[in-house]
């Protein structure tokens, strides 16, 4: 069952990714991205990372892709059409990358198994993650620093964007 | 006056700082400060000359204190008979050079600051007894010289400056390589002060420092480790001298440099190369230097410089270029004399460094005077100046005669000593070197004839004789040329013990 789930989600992610990269219509690409991100979320679930999977769906599928679609729709139609030929060169690179991932994956799986790593659903992780984030001896500092990061980047993004308006005016 | 040497080295810095805060426009004040700032070290080095006790062997006025403990670098100064005359000559030439620079109108502030910085570097090199300190001072001279030629030079100044810079830098990189190699060998043996020249000389000449700890059997690519160090030091200094075939930067630098800088370049900077050869190559590696093949190579190089320099000088049509090539020829005597390891040869070499310092400096000042008035330096373009500028002709005659080695002139004594000293060891080379003297006499007399004698070139019938300021810069040098020709013992006495200990070291 687990194997089936893995194969299903993995192919969803892979096919979605390929479709997104190579589809000439950018709107279709965006929808393919939704499939790919869903596939990744599914992979998280099969690995027992329920919180991560849920966050993936909420943030990426729900939030970011919708934003992307808005951006695509608001931009002009010409920009939405991209010739596939320009990306033909990418094919061998993608192939090499795939081969590389397969090789490392093959070597990695036995190690994770031997280390007793979970390849099946175990128990809910949300609470654990929450505790780790608030534990001063665990990951409290990175969590807080990420808050600073978001703040600073927000300010930066606004500054850059606002001056964009001034230029247009 | 325990810190006399430090005062001599660093007193120009005070003037430099003072000039730094002067407004750019007040040229007269800047010149006055510069003259004062070069007068102080001149005065101090005169005191040094008289206080130096020539009956005591070894280093005097020693100042020694730790500088960088991590590497065992010391602030280690001291002088012996070899360096005293050169320090005094530096003080004199920089002082006169400052006066000769009063005619410069462009960027006076920067010019004077660089000149003072140059003096710090030169005196530092002559007084350093620590290789690291020596190297730092050596490089301190590099940048001021680059800018002095590159900014205030003639039409092709940029080319001349970069050529000078690259040649000298190549030499100093080789020198640095030698210093590092010595340091690695010495510190590997646990020497506490692996840069100190006296300590290293002692270790090397007693055979305790061989580089065995770094390379197998002390051999590197078929040569002893120390021999490599000797060679890189030698090439480094030979570029500065310059020894043929490293001499090509010199004519360009001289021709493009402004007159005072040519004076300092010929008068002192070239001596740094031969001083390095005497102090480091001969003083630190006497066994290697006295190997017959090495010594003979040195003598041959000196001879080539003498003869080749003289021939090329004769072929020049540019007055300044001629003087520059005659410098190549004259510096050859130093190398030839130093390679003979006889008392006369070494004394001649050391004295030639001083006498050439005075006579070549005088000649460049003379060329400068002609150029200031005529705005060209073609030897053929003058003629009969003796009739309109008698004082000028008189001083020129002294300078030229000193350069060609006329008896009763200083050049005669030193060149004769070199030839005699060489004759005792290499009679063949000594007799060829005499050819050099003959050619030198020929081209100098010929130049005299073309410039000063014969019918007056009508263009120059208003040629002004030398001004008092020019006389002030040239007369002391002319006086010295005669003085040391008549009373060479003043100079030789100072150097005697230093030369004698060097000779014993080499003939041990």
């Amino acid at each position: 069952m687990l194997d089936f789930m893995f194969i299903f989600f993995a192919s969803l992610a892979l096919l979605g990714g390929l479709l997104m990269a190579f589809h000439p219509n950018i709107v279709h690409s965006a929808f393919a991205l939704v499939a790919a991100l869903f596939g990744v979320a599914g992979l998280y679930w099969t690995l027992g990372a329920d919180f991560l999977g849920a966050t993936q769906v909420l943030l990426y599928v729900g939030g970011i892709t919708v934003l992307l679609l808005f951006a695509v729709m608001l931009s002009t139609r010409d920009a939405a059409r991209i010739s596939i030929a320009r990306y033909a060169l990418m094919a061998p690179i993608v192939g090499l990358l795939g081969a590389f991932l397969v090789t490392t994956g093959k070597a990695l799986v036995p190690i994770v198994r031997a280390a007793g790593g979970a390849l099946g659903p175990t128990e809910p992780t949300t609470e654990k993650i929450g505790n780790l984030f608030m534990d001063p001896t665990a990951f409290m500092l990175p969590f807080e620093i990420l808050a600073v990061l978001l703040l600073v980047v927000l300010v930066g993004a606004i500054t850059l964007a606002r001056r964009g308006e001034e230029d247009a005016a | 006056m325990d810190q006399l040497l430090s005062f001599i080295i660093f007193s120009p810095m005070i003037g430099l700082l003072a000039i730094m805060f002067m407004p750019k426009g007040s040229k007269e004040a800047i010149r006055a400060i510069a003259a004062a700032a070069t007068f102080v070290p001149f005065l101090l080095s005169t005191i040094l000359w008289f206080q130096f006790d020539s009956s005591v062997p070894g280093m005097q006025f020693v100042e020694r204190m730790p500088w960088i403990d991590a590497l065992g670098v010391e602030y280690y100064l001291g002088i012996d008979g070899l360096s005293v005359p050169l320090v005094w000559l530096t003080g004199l030439l920089l002082f006169l050079g400052t006066f000769a620079s009063f005619g410069i109108e462009k960027g006076v502030k920067g010019y004077m600051m660089l000149l003072l910085l140059l003096e710090v570097g030169i005196n530092g090199v002559f007084c350093s007894l620590d290789l690291f300190l020596f190297y730092v001072f050596w490089e301190v001279m590099l940048l001021p010289m680059y800018f002095l030629i590159g900014v205030w030079g003639g039409p092709r100044r940029e080319y001349a400056a970069i050529k000078f810079f690259l040649y000298t830098l190549a030499g100093s990189v080789l020198m640095l390589l030698g210093i590092v190699a010595l340091y690695l060998a010495a510190s590997g043996q646990g020497v506490a002060t692996p840069f100190s020249i006296p300590v290293l000389s002692e270790l090397v000449s007693s055979g305790q420092l061989t580089g065995n700890n770094l390379v197998d059997q002390g051999m590197l690519l078929g040569w002893p480790y120390l021999k490599w160090i000797f060679v890189v030091f030698f090439i480094g200094f030979a570029i500065k001298v310059p020894v043929v075939p490293f001499h090509t930067w010199l004519p360009d630098a001289h021709v493009e440099a402004p007159t005072p800088i040519s004076v300092i370049l010929a008068g002192i900077l070239l001596k740094l190369g031969t001083y390095g050869i005497l102090r480091i190559n001969l003083g630190m590696f006497p066994q290697i230097a006295s190997e017959p093949a090495i010594a003979y190579t040195g003598a041959i190089l000196g001879l080539v410089a003498i003869v080749y320099g003289a021939f090329v000088a004769m072929a020049q049509t540019d007055f300044k270029r001629m003087v520059a090539y005659s410098s190549v020829s004259h510096m050859g005597y130093v190398l030839l004399g130093a390679s003979a390891f006889t008392s006369a040869g070494l004394n001649g070499a050391a004295m030639q460094m001083f006498t050439h310092g005075t006579s070549s400096a005088l000649l460049f000042l003379i060329v400068g005077v002609a150029y200031d008035r005529a705005h060209h330096r073609e030897i053929e373009g003058f003629g009969g100046l003796a009739s309109v500028a008698p004082t000028y002709t008189g001083i020129t005659t002294i300078g030229m005669f000193a350069a060609l080695g006329l008896p009763s002139m200083s050049g005669f004594i030193s060149e004769a000593l070199v030839i005699i000293g060489t004759w005792q060891v290499y009679p063949l080379l000594a007799s060829i070197a005499v050819i050099g003297i003959v050619i030198t006499a020929a081209f100098i007399l010929w130049t005299m004839q073309r410039v000063f004698l014969g019918p007056l070139n009508e263009k120059y019938k208003d040629f002004k004789d030398v001004t008092p300021r020019e006389i002030f810069t040239m007369a002391p040098l002319a006086f010295l040329c005669v003085l040391f020709g008549v009373l060479p013992m003043i100079l030789l006495d100072k150097m005697e013990l230093a030369i004698e200990s060097l000779r014993q070291l080499l003939n041990a």
Binding site: F100, T103, T104, K106, A107, L108, I111, V112, A115, G117, P136, T137, A138, F139, M140, L141, P142, I145, L146, V148, L149, L151, V152, V153, V155, G156, A157, T159, L160, R163, G164, D167 | K24, I68, D69, A70, K106, G107, K109, G110, Y135, V136, E139, V140, L142, L143, F147, G150, V151, R157, E158, A161, I162, F165, L166, L169, A170, V173, V180, L184
Partner: protein, 502 residues
Amino acid sequence: MSETLASHLTALKPEIWLTGTILVMLVLDLLVGKRSARTVGVFGLIGIGGAMWALMNQSSVPVRAFGLISIDTYSIFFRALIISATGIVMLHGMVFRGIEDETRAEFGPMLVGAALGACLLVSTDNLIMLLVGMELLSLCSYVMAGWQKKERRSAEAGLKYLVYGAMASGLMLFGFSLLYGLSGSMWMPEIALAVSEAWSLGDAGQHMIVVIASTLVFVGFGFKISAFPFHFWAPDVYEGSPTPVTSMLAVASKTAGFGVLIRFVDTVYLDLTIAEDWLGRFGYVIAVLAAITMTYGNVTAVKQNNIKRLLAYSSIAHAGYLLMGVAVMTTATVDNRAAVGIGMESILFYLVSYYIATLGAFGCAMAFANRFGAETLEDYEGLGWSSPWIGACFIIFLTSLVGLPPAIGLIGKWLLFKATLSVGLDWLAVIAALNAAVALFYYFKIARALFLRGDTDYQEGLASKGVIPGLAHLSLIVLAIFTVYFGLMWDGIMEWVSEAVM
């Protein structure tokens, strides 16, 4: 619990100062309005000064904070460089003509944010914290690089930096995940154990994981230090970014990159149990990369005409010199770990010399751009006569970058060469020496343009009067004095460096 929290926070005082500075600057920006952007900057400077003060008061006894950060002499050394560089860049940013006044106030928080990220980056030995620190540094840098949006080059620089940077962090993250898969830990010492075990006991597949993970991690670090072949972003980004940002990237960001790289190499690979044959190969690759990086940087710099671009390539070359030290470190064996100390010491010292001279050189470039709009070698002709002080400072910085006495750069090169020779990497030392000669050539193109070319007449430029521009100019002169002073009296720096070497 609260007591431990307090002790954790005490250990992070400089970082708290920096965070506070960001917040104060943002709030002040709202309160005082756009007209007094400089007030915000002054508060930023005060905050950075506070951070520096807190840092200097940290004891040299190692402390661990939050289980992720180790406050030791090593991290104090790197943070001192980063924070002080940020202060100088902040000062220069306040007078830079090119950042419009209405956005000057927002620029400060970005800069301090980058410094905060860099400080955390060099202090941590946990991969999660490392990643967060690096992202904070990178994201702030991306924004700053594209700050002059009206300038096409700046916008391009920001975008280019973002694209390459995101790819580099992605690859590095993948390397981290492989290391995590190997060891089950994010903590470097535990990863070290797992790596050496995988190498000595594992099969070919495990070896491959170690190699691939190391390569990917090195992509991330190599990007930050702009080592070949991850340097492609550097020239365009350095040229396009506002000059203060360029000097931040060239100094603080690169210093942080080396800080984390050395700690990673030291902790993960130079652990006592590491397999020597693996280390030998890794070290060989680093040595070759060092040689290519410096040669590429120097040779390409010769052809440059734009000063910032020239300095960018020179900064690539200096990354190559610094990598020499890393190569020296990797020659250590289980029995003889002396090479680690020698290599690290030489890198740290070289970083100090690079820091002073590069900050100064970019500062001078900025001063000339401000006053005369000069950017290329042709523009520079004769400018030394119009601003003799800045021109003379520029010469001193260039002297140091070449490695001529009496500047501190000579000592840095001396120590690096000595380290390289002492472990038998002679060929690398020879290549580096040849590179120094090439470097001389292009650095002196600037000197030549400033003083030898053009007429010596005074050229009228935009005068910049006031306290802050005066301070900015003064900072250059102080840096120039440091360059010479520490070139002659470097015992103190040497002691500080040896203390910092763990």
